[in-house]
């Protein structure tokens, strides 16, 4: 009996051990189970488009937050309390500045990754035209990121392929490119994008004319670089040529009412050539923060707007021919009311369920006039929950970056 026990025990043990050896590799091979990996995504045309969708919002998140301060506060268009952007006291470690830089480089890394993954991993059923379109979209965003980089930070390194830099171990020894070189790189990037992109794409997506439009703006900016009081004529000519190309060939037109370009219903309006596409969701960074950052406290129902104490500057008001100390509005310019709300203004497109938003009544009811300048932001705001869900206090929005209108202006000038 004892002997039998011994034998059976060893037998079982041996079996267990050998079983262990045989199936170990299988037992230990566990790629992500509840999500795709780069190896099993990019199998259909739709997946390839979905792979480029996030570059239309998420990585730009922190850039958008900070860039408002560079574009509007630093320029004096916007009063922002004790912000260092208002008082010209920005330190090199300024949080917004650091985050903006990280955000732009993040866009570049994603775009490089998309191009690489489409080239290496795309399934055999994916159409060649889809691959080109997707890569072209990524290239335009990459060019946009570099365009911001060179304008905000000047000389920056050229990162063409992140995985290659890491694989070669060379990533710590990358040198800055000169500003003209960066512009050349942007232009080359856009030229390649133009080659790959179709003349028209799905609504809201980048097409060939988005790339032309951006290229025109790049040339315009480049034309002034290194010049003093004049512009480089050949660059200017290029800018005009590409702007004309977009105006004449794209078949796009302007929206009749200026403020409509900032309304949600016109998210995919043909006036905008290149736009971020934010969304309502609980994935942080997929949302637009401008309503929170700029909206009056109490503008939404989540207690998540905190921008009311800053507002469009007196200079900007004067440029529109308005004076906050006056109780009547001049409304010389249609863009004024769509840019800033002032005493007496009513907006039928905000708080639609409550019969519109009355700025004066709002201040009366909350017993506080928040803005120090007498005006509050309108542009980029969407209002309350009636039209669109805004959980977590963040709002959805598209934010146009290159509008046809600005190209028309460019061409005119």
């Amino acid at each position: 009996m004892k002997r039998f026990n011994n034998i059976s025990k060893y037998l079982i043990f041996t079996i267990l051990i050998s079983f262990g050896f045989v199936s170990c590799e299988e037992f230990l091979s566990r790629p992500t189970e509840d999500n795709y990996t780069v190896d099993n995504f990019y199998q259909t045309d739709e997946q390839c488009f979905q792979a480029v969708n996030p570059v239309y919002n998420s990585p730009w998140y922190d850039f958008q937050r900070g860039f408002f301060k560079i574009g509007e506060v630093l320029s004096g268009n916007y009063y922002w309390g004790s912000s260092p952007y208002l008082t010209f006291t920005i330190n090199s470690t300024d949080e917004d500045l650091v985050n903006m830089s990280a955000s732009l480089w993040s866009v570049n890394a994603y775009c490089n990754g998309i191009i690489e993954n489409i080239d290496l991993k795309a399934g055999k059923d994916v159409k060649e035209s889809t691959k080109n379109t997707v890569k072209g979209e990524a290239l335009v965003w990459k060019a946009m990121a570099y365009f911001y980089l060179v304008r905000c930070f000047g000389e920056v390194p050229i990162i063409h392929n992140n995985s290659a830099e890491i694989a070669s171990g060379n990533y710590n020894n990358v040198y800055k490119a000169t500003i003209p070189n960066v512009y050349d790189y942007i232009i080359m990037t856009l030229e390649k994008a133009i080659e790959w992109l179709p003349a028209s794409n799905q609504p809201g997506r980048i097409d060939r004319y988005s790339a032309y439009g951006l290229l025109s703006k790049v040339y315009l900016t480049k034309s002034g670089y290194g010049m003093s009081g004049t512009r480089n004529a050949s660059d200017l000519a290029k800018a005009a040529e590409y702007a004309k190309k977009v105006i004449d060939e794209s078949g796009r037109s302007l929206l009749p009412v200026y403020s409509d370009v900032f309304r949600l219903k016109n998210n995919f309006s043909e006036e905008s050539l290149l736009a971020w596409h934010w969304v309502v969701s609980n994935n942080w960074t997929s949302q637009n923060t401008l309503q929170s950052d700029l909206g009056i406290v109490g503008f939404d129902e989540y207690g998540a707007t905190w921008g009311g104490y800053a507002g469009p500057s007196v200079d900007l008001q004067q440029a529109f021919g308005e004076n906050a100390l006056s109780l009547t509005r001049n409304n010389n310019d249609a863009r004024r009311k769509a840019t800033m709300m002032m005493y007496g203004d009513k907006y039928d497109y905000f708080w639609v369920d409550k019969g519109g938003f009355d700025y004066t009544q709002f201040a009366v009811k909350s017993m506080e006039y928040q803005s120090a300048t007498g005006a509050n932001e309108v542009k980029h705001l969407v209002g309350n929950d009636n039209l669109e869900r805004t959980p977590s206090g963040t709002c959805l929005r598209r934010r146009p970056l290159v509008r046809l209108c600005s190209l028309a202006l460019l061409r005119t000038s």
């Binding site: 004892k2 590799e25 230990l28 990996t37 919002n57 998420s58 008082t87 994603y110 994935n283």
Partner: protein
């Protein structure tokens, strides 16, 4: 095993001899340890086969047969007593624990060993120490008790986690905690961050939170803990052992009639310390003086005469409460020689000292051992527990501690109607901290079923086959609810609710064969085994906003519920072996090998092997030293080396996963990280040299260990420059690849000294331990510019570890003083905001009264006359130079007193909270009282008239005139008050570095055991009552609440940063232990 057989034999013998009757004696045997009756003590008449055993009440009766009878009283683990009977007929015998015998067998990985055979470094923490502190989790019992272990409470919240570093931080992985193994089963945490429970960022964004996986386990069920420190001891755990291993053994049954015991404890906790903040009068004066310097821009007429004001609201008193706690445990143990059981049930309820926080636990345990056949033993250890916690975010910028301190004393807690007051002023919203703590729910429920079933088969004597199936099945439910509320003129119009359920299933199966043998003086043991485990997790969460009311928290009732789900698994397979050898108790040696395969690595580097050896020499057993055994009764030198590994990185780091990211164009899918298919095991190698010395028959025991351990191929995210696009917002950035990128070295010495100072009726024992550790980042990714960064709250760099530095040094500027006047500004190195055109402006440029930082370096590596980022430097290390603990216990008759102190020396604390509490950037924030001693400005020439033109600009007041302003208190350390802080006086600097050394009177316990005479009358074997004071006083220079600050809950790679850490409470408690 052998003892059971002996006992059986003794029993049988006693029966046989019963028949012969002559002279009868009786008596009782009690345990010298706790004066309880001892059951099952062998009473044998010497030189005869005659004997008996004691009954449940300790009594015995024996008929003597020999002429000059001598009785021998013996019990396993106790020193036997011989009594000459003489004419006596009744005996009262006290048996004392045999320390040598009892300490002899210790748990090691996959088996037990005689303690005297150990060649590695391991420490036992016994039940007495576990019970010496008032603890919620068993890891809290390790504080200050074990040399070489630095143990810091992450928070003072009830049930909070403890960060434990065995012999220094040897990895920068998020999980540097030791491996906990309970009765052979690896404890499953299910993650330690709030996010892993579905609480999002409610408890901070860091990888550690205050939630402890060990708080689900009832410490009263633990009989001992073994802390394995050196690699030769931990190597048998191979890939999981590099942070040290804590082996936990739970109580097992003892043969005999059932013994019930009740342990009850009642306590109150409080926060003793307060930070010196301004009261209302001081706040009003401060407000007035700031407004005077700003053309009365922020003038507040209600503060016109501060002497008329009271103290205002003391927000510290408001958020801290006197919190009760109580715990009760009932257990029963007993059995026969063949089947033994231990069952227990316990309840614990602990309120937190910060309002709104509490912790409840119900736990049950049943342990069973059955000797089914002579060669077959079956065992079952199982526990079930439920915990319910109401958590709160104490630290970080959004935490209640900082939030309440910043809330000014002119805001009341309640308004006239009894509702929470809250005030929004010029965009400075201060949501009422009390309202936040009470109305916003962060709830966590957990349950856990864990244990193992094992069989030990002993086919023939020297061979034992141990087969075991372990399991740990846990579920948890995290809930967050933010109500729709209106506090004063602040309101949140829509509520939000989220609930997430998590399931974790873990099983492990192991087999090992142990063969022991002896030939002459050669003793040897060989063990060979196999283990596999698999761990699965799954979670489903729903969140929504706009629920119809605040009453029902079902997120499905809200608008547009969002669903969040996921699942995954990991697994490991291992083979291991161990050989030990002992020659004549003089020369001992151990060799272990383990080969591990982990699913965390790709096919290229999945498997790794780990070796270790250790040897020791007990020189006091050598013939030539026998003569000194009266002085030195035990002396042993130990030496060992070993490898261990670390695979703690989470799954699928070898590939690139895709993550969902919605966009305005529809669903989007982004690549989550850059892949590294070549990622492999982190390996640690450790040398250990130790000596054990026992003098004067164990009156003095000294253990000294020295170690040198190096972790190489450290698993970490690759530190890439910003242009690689992997920095910034973690929610959107591409994650950098994980790989093997660094080397860390820890060296140290640790001492343990135990002395029995007095051994008579009045006993006095001292245990002292002390450990020194030096830590160094040896290499990082091969390049000179790579470093490790840690952040304060979001992305502000607070720590930088460069190659060659100890880990987690604080990094910032050094403050020299304050600028006294214009000349001082002109003659000092130029800060960034020094106006190049010479036009100073008190609002926008550096000004008199701003902080002057040291010019330490420049682009050329030497001071360049400019204050810029080159001047940042190491401003202190959060790691202690040494830490220590000392316990003194005194026994006299039935009284016992134990005093336990512990502390650290040489560590720095970054008082991050003080940055906001002394920034003076908003007149709507309360500040530390020390800001009243800030750099105060005064005119040099008080008679100068204004307006005047200075540097081409018209100024209207002396305080705007750079040529006519100076600091009136030149030695001020706090800068001037200025709203937008142009000079960045609040930058990371040594202004906020404080000495974190402390000496704490951790525990004082005073107990009294009722004499058996009295307790017997109530049919109770033993009654002990005791009182305990925990954290009575802390000697420290730190100005915050509590200098004991561990890992940051906001960011990895940060240690010792106080951003409002939940301070450890003072606990006054009273307890009673009964057994019957």
């Amino acid at each position: 095993m052998r003892n059971i057989i002996l006992l059986c034999t003794a029993l049988l013998l006693s029966w046989q001899i019963m028949a012969q009757e002559s002279r009868r004696v009786t008596g009782t045997v009690i345990d010298g340890n706790d004066n309880t009756a001892m059951i099952g003590v062998n009473v044998i008449e010497k030189g005869t086969g005659n004997g008996t055993v004691t009954k449940a009440d300790g009594s015995f009766a024996i008929n003597l047969t020999s002429k000059n009878p001598v009785l021998i009283f013996s019990s396993l683990g106790y020193t036997s007593v011989e009594e000459v009977v003489g004419n006596r007929t009744s005996f009262k015998i006290v048996l004392n624990e045999d320390r040598k015998t009892l300490g002899e067998v210790v748990v090691v990985g996959y088996g037990t060993m005689k303690k005297s055979d150990l060649s590695g470094a391991a420490v036992t923490v016994g039940e007495d120490k576990i019970k010496g502190s008032i603890i919620t989790n068993l890891d809290q019992a390790l504080q200050g008790r074990v040399a070489g272990v630095n143990s810091v409470m992450t928070s003072g919240a009830p049930g909070s986690s403890v960060s434990i570093r065995v012999r220094g931080q040897s990895t920068i992985n998020s999980n540097a905690e030791p491996l906990y193994v309970i009765d052979g089963v690896i404890v499953q945490g299910g993650g330690n961050s709030g996010a892993s429970f579905g609480l999002g960022d409610a408890l901070g964004n860091g990888s550690t939170s205050t939630i402890s996986p060990l708080s689900t386990i009832n410490p009263s069920d633990i009989v001992s803990m073994e802390i394995l420190k050196d690699a030769s001891a931990t190597a048998i755990y191979g890939a999981q052992g590099s942070n040290g291993v804590v082996l936990i053994t739970t109580k097992k049954g003892k043969a005999g009639e059932a013994k019930f015991s009740y342990e009850g404890l009642f306590g109150v906790q409080r926060q003793a310390a307060r930070i010196d903040m301004m009261n209302l009068r001081e706040f009003a004066e401060y407000s007035n003086s700031v407004s005077q310097e700003s053309n009365a821009k922020d003038d507040r007429p209600e503060f016109l005469d501060p002497t008329l004001l009271g103290n205002g609201t003391n927000w510290q008193d408001a958020i801290f409460q006197i919190a009760p706690m109580n715990q009760h445990q009932i257990s029963a143990q007993g059995g026969t020689d063949l089947i033994k059981y231990y069952v227990s049930g316990s309840y614990m309820n602990q309120q937190g000292t910060i309002i709104g926080t509490k912790f409840n636990r119900y736990s049950f345990r049943a342990n069973l051992d059955a000797q089914l056949k002579k060669w077959f033993k079956l065992g079952l250890n199982s526990m079930y527990s439920m915990t319910h916690e109401r958590l709160g975010l104490a630290d970080s910028d959004e935490g209640i501690v900082k939030y309440s301190l910043l809330t000014p004393p002119d805001i009341p807690i309640y308004d006239l109607d009894g509702n929470y007051a809250s005030v929004v002023r010029e965009g400075y919203t201060r949501i009422n901290p009390i309202a936040m703590a009470m109305d916003e729910d962060i709830l966590l429920d957990r349950n856990k079923l864990a244990g193992n079933i094992f069989a030990e088969i002993n086919p023939y004597k020297p061979l034992v086959w141990h087969t075991e199936l372990g399991f740990d099945i846990g579920g948890s439910r995290g809930e967050r609810f933010e109500p729709a509320v209106t506090y004063g003129n602040w309101s949140r119009k829509s509520n939000s609710s989220s609930i997430q359920n998590n399931i974790n299933k873990f099983w492990q199966f192991k087999n090992y064969l142990t063969y022991s043998g002896k030939v002459d003086k050669h003793n040897y043991t060989a063990m060979l085994g196999q283990e596999i485990w698999e761990s699965n997790y799954e979670y489903e969460g729903v969140s929504s906003t706009n629920l119809p009311s605040n009453d029902i928290h079902n997120p499905n009732l809200g608008s547009d519920p969002q669903i969040n789900t996921g699942f995954g698994s990991s697994s490991m397979a291992s083979f291991f072996g161990r050989a030990t050898y002992n020659y004549d108790d003089r020369y001992m040696g151990t060799y272990t090998y383990r080969r591990d395969g982990s699913s965390n690595f790709g096919p290229k580097n999945r498997w790794a092997g780990f070796h270790s050896f250790a040897s020791s020499w007990r020189f006091t057993n050598e013939e030539f030293l026998k003569s000194i055994t009266g002085v030195l009764n035990n002396g042993k030198i130990r030496f060992g080396w070993g490898q261990t590994g670390n695979s703690n990185i989470g799954s699928y780091m070898w590939g690139a996963a895709i993550a969902k990211m919605p966009s305005g164009l529809g669903l989007g899918y982004r690549q989550r990280n850059l892949a590294n298919p070549y990622i492999k095991w982190e390996t640690q190698e450790q040398w250990n040299l130790g000596i054990d010395l026992n003098f004067f028959r164990d009156r003095i025991g000294l253990v000294v260990d020295m170690y040198d351990k190096t972790s190489k191929d450290m698993l970490m995210a690759l530190q890439l420059p910003s242009y690689m696009g992997t920095r910034g917002n973690a929610s959107s950035a591409l994650a950098s690849p994980y790989g093997n990128y660094g080397t860390i070295n820890n060296k140290g010495v640790e001492f343990t000294l135990n002395t029995h100072n007095l051994t008579g009726a009045f006993k006095w024992n001292t245990e002292f331990q002390m450990s020194f550790n030096k830590n160094k980042l040896v290499a990082l990714d091969g390049t000179a510019s790579a470093h490790i960064e840690g952040y304060g709250q979001w992305s502000d760099v607070v720590t930088i570890t460069n190659v060659g530095d100890p880990l987690y040094n604080f990094y910032g500027y050094k403050v020299v003083g304050v600028y006294q006047d214009l000349d001082d500004l002109k003659n000092s190195p130029k800060p960034e905001k020094y106006p190049s055109n010479g036009v100073f402006d008190r609002y926008n440029t550096t000004w008199v009264g701003d902080l002057k930082y040291a010019d330490l370096s420049g682009p050329e590596g030497k001071p360049d006359g400019k204050i810029d980022t080159y001047d940042r430097t190491n401003i202190g290390s959060p790691m202690p130079k040494f830490n220590y603990g000392m316990t003194n216990t005194f026994n006299y008759k039935n009284f016992d007193l134990s005093v336990f102190i512990n502390g650290t020396y040489g560590n720095k604390v970054y008082n991050y909270m003080a940055m906001n509490l002394s920034s003076m950037t908003s007149i709507w924030d309360n500040q530390l009282k020390v800001v009243t001693e800030r750099a105060l400005l005064e005119p040099m020439n008080a008679t100068k008239t204004y307006p005047a033109v200075i540097n081409g600009v018209t100024v209207y007041n002396w305080f705007e005139d750079i040529t006519n302003v100076k600091v009136s208190n030149p030695s001020a350390t706090v800068p001037r008050a200025i709203a937008n802080d142009p000079n960045d006086n609040n930058r990371i600097s040594d202004r906020y570095i404080e000495d974190g050394s402390y000496l704490r009177i951790k525990n004082i316990t005073f107990g009294y055991s009722l004499p058996a005479k009295i307790s017997r009358q109530w049919k109770v074997d033993n009654i002990r009552v005791y009182a305990n004071i925990q954290n009575l006083y802390t000697f420290s220079k730190y100005t915050g609440y509590d200098p004991e600050i561990g890992a940051s809950t906001a960011s990895s790679n940060v240690y010792g940063l106080d951003n409002g850490r939940y301070p450890s409470p003072q606990v006054y408690s009273f307890g009673i232990n009964l057994s019957f």
